[in-house]
């Protein structure tokens, strides 16, 4: 007897991909770009985004068509990515329509999402689904938005991956006790392509090329970096990777802080950052805000082996102390940063080389594309198995929603006007909204 040919599990992979600079440079698009080839070997992945490009090397389907595709050939799992950015609004919308695995790049969100979401009674709907009776709240029920945590998104994702260890801890602390569709959670490191992680040029001496990829705002401490460089005891040349829209602000800051030598490079994205690191002596990744994680830029620096200065805050606290330089956010931040630069300038080429090798080794252990893809692949396979019952139950729930909707239509209202009910019923059936083929009767 012939065994059935192996069929790769079918995944709907939601992600912003391109369009404006921010979404293409964001963590979701980066993760997709970096992992898609590895994952395609194991899964049949359909890329879903807010545009359509069927002619692309990896075809992209518009999110509104994804649900049509699901009807023709059901997906085994829906995967979404979530950022604190409008680029992933469409993912947030659809997560509540069809829950699945969510990769959280951020757990704190600065907005409630697109306007229609603020009027969805998400909590009541979730309670209705989880209860034995599976009821629906009345159609005019409104929901009071909660923030800044992604409460709704966390509740609607039965399986979660977090690219920030801090966010897993936060989720456990603030949300894991709330009603939700599931409580499985994993840490997913950012993948870094090894091909592009060539060894940086190792120099010694007191002239330092300093790399910085932060936005010109207080959260990523550009003012601290510039102040520190102005008064540094060593000669520094700043290489600042920016978004084109930030040029005017960055130039103004450089002028305000009177930084002697600074080069602005436009086109912030992780790949561009990777290409710059070949000729950088030390990078600075400061972050002091509960919003917006540093994203893939730090892992890229680590895997490139470039010595790195970090804020002693957030996710950085989970990193091994021997491999990095730390500064404490606050009053002494500028002085500590200057001190780090001075100390680093005294290291010999051999010492810098050792540090580089250590960082690269650590980076490859954690962030290798093959390893990350392998881990995510295991999580996906595990989730498909675990969620198969859930997916079936959710299909039934959707059918109940349709029945609830049709139950509110005038054709169901008992009335002495039989013409209305009779002709409208026939029309509903002709259009295909009711009848034996749909499995839904009035």
């Amino acid at each position: 007897m012939l065994s059935k040919p192996f069929k790769k599990p079918r995944i709907a992979w939601f992600s912003p991909l391109t369009g404006d600079t921010c979404s293409a440079a964001g963590p979701s698009a980066y993760l997709t770009r970096t992992l898609i080839d590895e994952l395609q070997g194991r899964f049949d992945i359909v890329l879903v985004s807010d545009f359509e490009d069927r002619a692309a090397a990896v075809p992209v389907v518009h999110f509104l068509r994804a649900f049509d595709m699901d009807r023709e050939s059901p997906f085994d799992l829906w995967v979404y990515q979530l950022e604190n950015s409008k680029a992933t609004w469409f993912c947030r919308m659809h997560l509540a329509i069809q829950p699945g695995l969510v990769i959280f790049h951020d757990l704190l969100l600065s907005d409630y999402g697109p306007d229609p979401m603020t009027s969805t009674p998400s909590n009541e709907l979730l309670d209705g689904y989880l209860s034995e009776n599976q009821y629906f709240p009345s159609l005019d029920t409104f929901w009071k938005p909660e923030g800044p945590y992604a409460f709704r998104e966390a509740a609607y994702s039965p399986v979660k991956c977090f690219t920030s260890r801090k966010d897993i801890a936060e989720w456990r602390r603030t949300m894991s006790h709330r009603p939700a569709l599931g409580d499985k959670a994993w840490f997913l490191p950012y993948p870094v392509s090894p091909a592009a992680s060539s060894r940086p040029v190792i120099r010694e001496g007191s002239r330092l090329r300093v790399g910085f990829a932060g936005a010109p705002g207080i959260e990523q401490r550009s003012h601290v970096v510039l102040e520190a460089l102005r008064g540094a005891a060593v000669h520094t040349e700043l290489v600042w990777l920016i978004d084109p829209a930030e040029r005017a602000t960055a130039e103004a800051l450089i002028k305000e802080f009177d930084v002697e030598s600074a080069t602005l490079v436009e086109g912030r994205n992780p790949e561009r950052w990777q290409s710059l690191l070949v000729d950088i002596d030390i990078t600075i990744h400061l972050h002091f805000s509960v919003f917006d994680s540093p994203g893939p830029y730090l892992p890229v620096s680590i895997c490139s082996g470039v010595p790195t200065v970090l804020s002693e805050f957030g996710d950085a606290l989970t990193l091994p102390r021997d491999f990095f330089f730390f500064v404490q956010p606050g009053q002494k931040e500028v002085f500590e940063l200057r001190e780090v630069l001075s100390q680093f300038a005294l290291l010999s080429a051999a010492q810098r080389s050792t540090l580089c090798d250590r960082l690269k080794g650590y980076g490859q252990e954690i962030h290798s594309t093959k390893i990350v893809a392998g881990e995510l692949g295991m999580v996906i396979e595990h989730s498909i198995d675990e969620l198969s019952t859930f997916m079936e139950r959710w299909r039934i729930y959707r059918a109940q929603a349709r029945a609830s909707l049709l139950g509110s239509q005038p054709l169901n209202v008992k009335s002495s006007n039989e013409w209305y009910s009779r002709y409208l019923s026939a029309a509903f059936e002709e259009i295909g909204w009711t009848g034996s083929k749909t499995g839904v009767s009035r």
Binding site: L139, L411, Y423
Partner: protein
């Protein structure tokens, strides 16, 4: 000659491109000897769950025979008129129910992620596909509309631009110091963006707005913006204007501001260009961009009041440029087949199911 019914959708107490389109089509059909009439049902988008019933009501209409006269063909236009039943149905699509398609997930849509809303959306998408599939001929009023049809419903259609209603009457006069805005006053038309731009525009430039509001609260919002920036002397609401007044306004405008979000077609664009006036529009204005070419027939800017304001100032400060843009726009419109002669082509295509061509 054929007996033709044009199927229109009327939102009572409002007036817009749809009304112009169906009225013009009936007039031009009759001018060519056809027996044509208009069938309209009232439409409201709220409450959203009534959309199914409103679409189904079209399905119940008997449209094949009136007073012993067989209807040879019906021409549907806007959602949900194409749900009508007739053996020979032609579609000249103005737009579908946009909140379930390209406006979904934006502030212009009321479709949430409640599973009942998703089922509503799905039923309408399925219904659209089936009902449009019955049409013997499918077209849309612009490339933007047919591209949406392809993207969301996988249906091929032909772009058939509506000719201008007042073709032959547009004229160009010396520009006066006002920017003109024409159209329904509602959020998606983004008149507020032009009002908010005025503080950075040369203060001798006024804004004249022809059109009536059709959205609750919109006038309160706009008047609030005017008061906030002390623009009472610079903004004039003209309400609904007759054709002659409209032609006069176009002829004397310095420029026409028309920057709606993802517009289907944009009669206003073409009327401005037919009047030899430059158009200021936005990068996301949809069908408008099928005619406005940046630095050739108008200015296309980021959809922000800052960008709009700077665009106006450019035209104020360089009147030679403004005239050049207007002149090129007039040429484009003349070549685009949207003057009076364009109706022969439009009607020929819409009635093609009868002629087999």
């Amino acid at each position: 000659m054929a007996n033709v019914l044009v199927l229109g959708v009327k939102v009572p107490f409002t007036s817009g491109g749809q009304d112009v389109l169906v009225g013009s089509l009936v007039r031009e059909l009759r001018a060519r000897g056809h027996n044509a009439d208009l069938v309209e049902l009232p439409f409201t988008a709220l409450p959203k769950y009534d959309l199914l019933t409103q679409a189904a009501l079209w399905r119940t209409l008997p449209l094949e025979n009136f007073g012993g006269r067989d209807v040879d063909i019906v021409v549907a236009t806007k959602f949900p008129s194409y749900y009508a039943k007739h053996p020979v149905k032609s579609l000249w699509l103005v737009h579908q129910h946009r909140p379930i398609y390209e406006l979904y997930g934006t502030r212009y849509s009321d479709i949430s992620n409640d599973p009942r809303d998703e089922e509503l959306r799905r039923m309408l998408v399925d219904g659209d596909r089936k009902m449009i599939g019955e049409c013997a001929y499918v077209s849309g009023i612009s490339r933007n509309v047919v591209q949406r049809l392809k993207a969301f419903n996988d249906v091929e259609g032909e772009a058939l631009y509506p000719p201008l209603n007042l073709a032959g009457r547009y004229r160009c006069c010396e520009a006066e110091n006002f920017v003109l805005s024409v159209g329904r006053i509602c959020t998606i038309k983004r008149v507020d963006m032009m009002i908010k731009a005025l503080p950075i525009v040369h203060n001798f430039v006024k804004l004249k707005i022809a059109g009536i509001p059709d959205e609750p609260g919109v006038m309160d919002y706009l008047n609030n913006e005017i008061a906030k920036h002390h623009l009472w002397d610079r903004v004039e609401f003209l309400g609904r204007v007759d054709d002659e007044t409209l032609l006069d306004l176009y002829s004397k405008a310095l420029a026409v501001y028309y920057a709606p979000h993802d517009e289907d077609y944009g009669y206003v664009t073409l009327e401005a260009m037919a009047s030899g006036k430059p158009v200021i529009t936005a990068t996301d204005s949809g069908g408008v961009l099928e005619f406005v070419r940046h630095e050739e027939t108008g200015l296309i800017v980021e959809p922000t009041s800052d960008a709009v304001g700077h665009a106006v100032n450019r035209l104020v400060e360089d009147k030679v440029k403004a005239r050049a843009l207007g002149a090129t726009g007039l040429k484009v419109v003349e070549d685009a087949g949207v003057m009076a002669a364009g109706w022969d082509h439009v009607i020929g295509r819409l009635l093609s199911p009868l002629t087999g061509r």
